[in-house]
C-alpha cells in the first residue's frame, strides 16, 4: 500500500515566506546606524570644538586695555609678566617659527624628494619594502625623544663643529625638524610619483632617455602638484611641532640674525609659559590667542595641500 503525499494548498507552497526579524533587531540596527552617523560627524564636532574652546578662552583679551591686535602681530616686545608695562608682541616668535621651519624645509625637501624618487623609481621591491618600513619607524619616534636628541646629541655636535656659543639654536631645531618631517615628505611624495601613469615612463624610455632625464624632464613636471602637497604637509608638521623645538631651539625671544641664534617658536612659547600663567589672566588669554593663530596657520596649509591632492585625483 502506498501512501500518496497529502497535497498542500497551492498558495501555501508557493508563497514566498517573508523573513520576519524581531522588532528589537530592527530598532537596534536603526539605533546603531544613528550611532555610526554621530561618530561620522564627530570629526567636524571636534574641529569646531577646538576652534570654539580656544577662541572662547582667548576672546576676552581683545577687549583688554593692555592689548592691541596690531601690537600682537607686529611688535617683538614680549613682556607678559612686566609689572609696569605688559606688552604682548609675538613677531619674534613668528620669525622664530618661520626661520626654524624654513631652514628645516631647505634640508628636508631635497632629501625627502630624493629618497621618494629613489624608492619609487630606482630600487627593487625588496629594498623598497625595507625602506618603507624604516620610514614608518622614523615617523613613529616621539617628538619628545627628538627634542632630547637635539638637546643632548645635536647641540654638542653643533658646538663642536661650528664653534657656536650655544648648541640649542635655529640650526639645531631645523635639523631635528627636518628629520621629523622627512618621512611625511617621502611617503606623500612617493604616492605622487606612483600616480604618474607608466605610459609616461615607457614613452620616455622608448625615446632613449636615461632615467636621470626621465626623472627631471618627465616625472617631476608630471608629479609637481603632489610633490608640492608633500612639501606643504611637511611645512604644516614643522609649524605645529612643539616638544622638539621647545627643547632644541633655546629660549631667546628675539628675531634671529643667524642660524646660530637661539629662538623661541609660537608653539614652544605656549608650552613654556602656559604652566606659569594664572587661569583667566591676560597672559593666559594671549597664549590661547597664539594657539588660535597656530590653528589658523595649519588650517590654511592643510587645506591647500588637500585641495592640491584632490585636484590631482580628479584629473
Amino acid at each position: 500500500m502506498s501512501v500518496s503525499p497529502t497535497p498542500r494548498p497551492l498558495e501555501q507552497s508557493l508563497a514566498v515566506r517573508k523573513a520576519v526579524r524581531p522588532a528589537w533587531a530592527v530598532l537596534g540596527e536603526r539605533g546603531l546606524e544613528i550611532l555610526i552617523y554621530l561618530c561620522g560627524i564627530s570629526a567636524i564636532v571636534f574641529v569646531l570644538g577646538i576652534f570654539f574652546f580656544v577662541f572662547k578662552e582667548a576672546f576676552p583679551i581683545l577687549g583688554s586695555k593692555h592689548f592691541s591686535l596690531g601690537q600682537f602681530l607686529f611688535s617683538e616686545q614680549w613682556y607678559p609678566t612686566s609689572e609696569v608695562h605688559k606688552r604682548y608682541g609675538v613677531l619674534a616668535m613668528i620669525a622664530g617659527t618661520f626661520s626654524v621651519t624654513g631652514l628645516a624645509m631647505l634640508i628636508a625637501v631635497p632629501f625627502g624628494l630624493g629618497a621618494a624618487i629613489y624608492i619609487s623609481e630606482f630600487c627593487g621591491s625588496k629594498v623598497r619594502e625595507t625602506l618603507k618600513v624604516v620610514i614608518e619607524l622614523l615617523a613613529a619616534i616621539p617628538s619628545v625623544v627628538w627634542g632630547f636628541i637635539g638637546l643632548t646629541v645635536m647641540s654638542r655636535l653643533i658646538v663642536k663643529y661650528t664653534g657656536a656659543p650655544v648648541g640649542v639654536n635655529v640650526l639645531n631645531g631645523a635639523i631635528i625638524l627636518a628629520l621629523m618631517s622627512v618621512p611625511i615628505i617621502v611617503s606623500i611624495g612617493e604616492d605622487a610619483l606612483k600616480a604618474v601613469p607608466d605610459s609616461y615612463r615607457e614613452a620616455g624610455l622608448a625615446l632613449g632617455a636615461t632615467r636621470w632625464q626621465l626623472v627631471w624632464r618627465v616625472l617631476l613636471p608630471a608629479a609637481k602638484n603632489g610633490l608640492l602637497a608633500a612639501v606643504l604637509l611637511g611645512v604644516g608638521r614643522g609649524v605645529g611641532e612643539t616638544m622638539a623645538v621647545l627643547m632644541a631651539t633655546g629660549h631667546a625671544v628675539h628675531i634671529p640674525h643667524s642660524i646660530f641664534d637661539s629662538v623661541r617658536t609660537l608653539t614652544a612659547n605656549i608650552a613654556a609659559e602656559l604652566g606659569e600663567a594664572p587661569a583667566d589672566s591676560d597672559h593666559y588669554r594671549v597664549l590661547f590667542l597664539i594657539g588660535l593663530l597656530l590653528f589658523m596657520m595649519t588650517f590654511v596649509v592643510n587645506l591647500t595641500a588637500d585641495l592640491i591632492v584632490r585636484g590631482i585625483r580628479r584629473k
Partner: protein
C-alpha cells in the same frame, strides 16, 4: 655597428650617478636613525635593567627608576584607546559605507584632515579649556586621555577607512543579494575582511598616544607623583599621573643633577616601546595581508 659611442657612455655614466645620488639621499635618512638609537642605548646602558622599570624615582628624581611614569603612560594609552578606537572605527564605517559623495562628506573629510594637522599644543589648549575647565574634570587622567583620544582619532579613521575601502565591492553586493541589511553586511562581511587594517590603526594609535607630550602636559600629567614600587593600580581616574614622555622632558630640562644615564635610559624605554609597538603593527599587517583571499 653597436659599439659604444661617447653618447651612450655618457648616458650610462649619468644613469649610475643618478642612482647613487638618490640612493645616498635615501640612505642619509636611515643612517641617522641607526646612529641615534645606537648612541642612546650606549649612553643609557649603565641604567638599563629590569629594576629600572619597576623602581620609583628617588632623591628628588635624580636616581631610581621610572615605574610611576610607565604605569601612568599605560593608563593614558588604554583610556584614550577605549574612546578613540570605537569612535574612530565607526566614523570610518560611516565615511566608507554610508556616506554618499556629496558636499557633506567632503566637509567631514576636510575635518578629519584638519584634525590630523592641528598642532599638538593646540590640542592641549583645547583639552585645558574643554575638559579641565568647562567639563570640570580638573587636571586628571580623564582630561588627559580624552585629549589624547581626540588627537589620535584621525590615525584610526584613516587606517580603518583604507582597510574598508580595500574590501571589494562585489563582496558587499553578494551579501546584499541574499537579503542582508546594510548593518548585517558590515558585521558579517566588511569588518571581518578588513580586520588587519583596523588592527594596524589601533596599534599605531597606541604608539602615537604613548609618545605625545604636549597634549597631556597641561591636562593631567605631572612632574612627580608618589607611588609604591611595583604598584599596579596606583592612580584613580580623577588623579593626576606621571607619564613616560613627560618624565623624559622633566628629567632633561627641569631637574638638576640627574644621574647622567637616567634620562637616556628613559628615552630608550620610551623609544623602544614605541618602535616595538610599531614594528608589531608592521608584522601583523604583513601576516594578515599574506593570508588575504583576494
Amino acid at each position: 655597428m653597436f659599439a659604444e659611442t661617447p653618447l651612450v657612455r655618457r648616458k650610462q655614466r649619468q644613469e649610475t650617478i643618478a642612482k647613487w645620488l638618490f640612493f645616498s639621499m635615501a640612505a642619509s635618512m636611515i643612517i641617522p636613525l641607526i646612529l641615534i638609537v645606537g648612541y642612546l642605548v650606549a649612553r643609557a646602558w649603565p641604567s638599563l635593567s629590569l629594576s629600572f622599570l619597576i623602581d620609583v624615582p628617588t632623591h628628588g628624581m635624580t636616581e631610581g627608576g621610572i615605574w610611576p611614569a610607565l604605569v601612568g603612560t599605560i593608563y593614558l594609552v588604554v583610556l584614550s584607546l577605549a574612546v578613540s578606537a570605537p569612535v574612530g572605527v565607526l566614523a570610518a564605517v560611516y565615511l566608507n559605507e554610508y556616506a554618499r559623495e556629496n558636499w557633506f562628506n567632503r566637509i567631514i573629510n576636510l575635518a578629519v584632515i584638519n584634525l590630523a594637522g592641528v598642532p599638538s599644543i593646540v590640542h592641549a589648549l583645547f583639552g585645558l579649556g574643554a575638559f579641565v575647565y568647562a567639563a570640570h574634570f580638573g587636571y586628571s587622567i580623564i582630561s588627559a586621555s580624552l585629549t589624547l583620544a581626540i588627537m589620535t582619532l584621525p590615525v584610526i579613521i584613516a587606517s580603518t577607512r583604507e582597510a574598508l575601502a580595500s574590501v571589494p565591492r562585489s563582496f558587499r553586493e553578494a551579501c546584499w543579494n541574499v537579503g542582508a541589511t546594510r548593518w548585517q553586511t558590515i558585521t558579517a562581511v566588511v569588518l571581518p575582511n578588513s580586520i588587519s587594517g583596523i588592527l594596524t590603526g589601533v596599534i599605531l594609535q597606541v604608539s602615537r598616544a604613548a609618545g605625545e607630550t604636549a597634549p597631556i602636559m597641561f591636562t593631567g600629567a605631572v612632574f612627580y607623583e608618589a607611588v609604591q614600587k611595583g604598584d599596579l593600580f596606583p592612580y584613580r581616574l580623577q588623579d593626576q599621573c606621571m607619564a613616560l614622555s613627560m618624565h623624559l622632558y622633566t628629567l632633561a630640562t627641569q631637574v638638576p643633577g640627574v644621574k647622567e644615564s637616567i634620562p637616556f635610559a628613559t628615552a630608550v624605554v620610551l623609544l623602544g616601546s614605541v618602535l616595538l609597538v610599531n614594528a608589531s603593527a608592521i608584522v601583523v599587517r604583513g601576516y594578515l595581508r599574506s593570508r588575504k583571499k583576494w
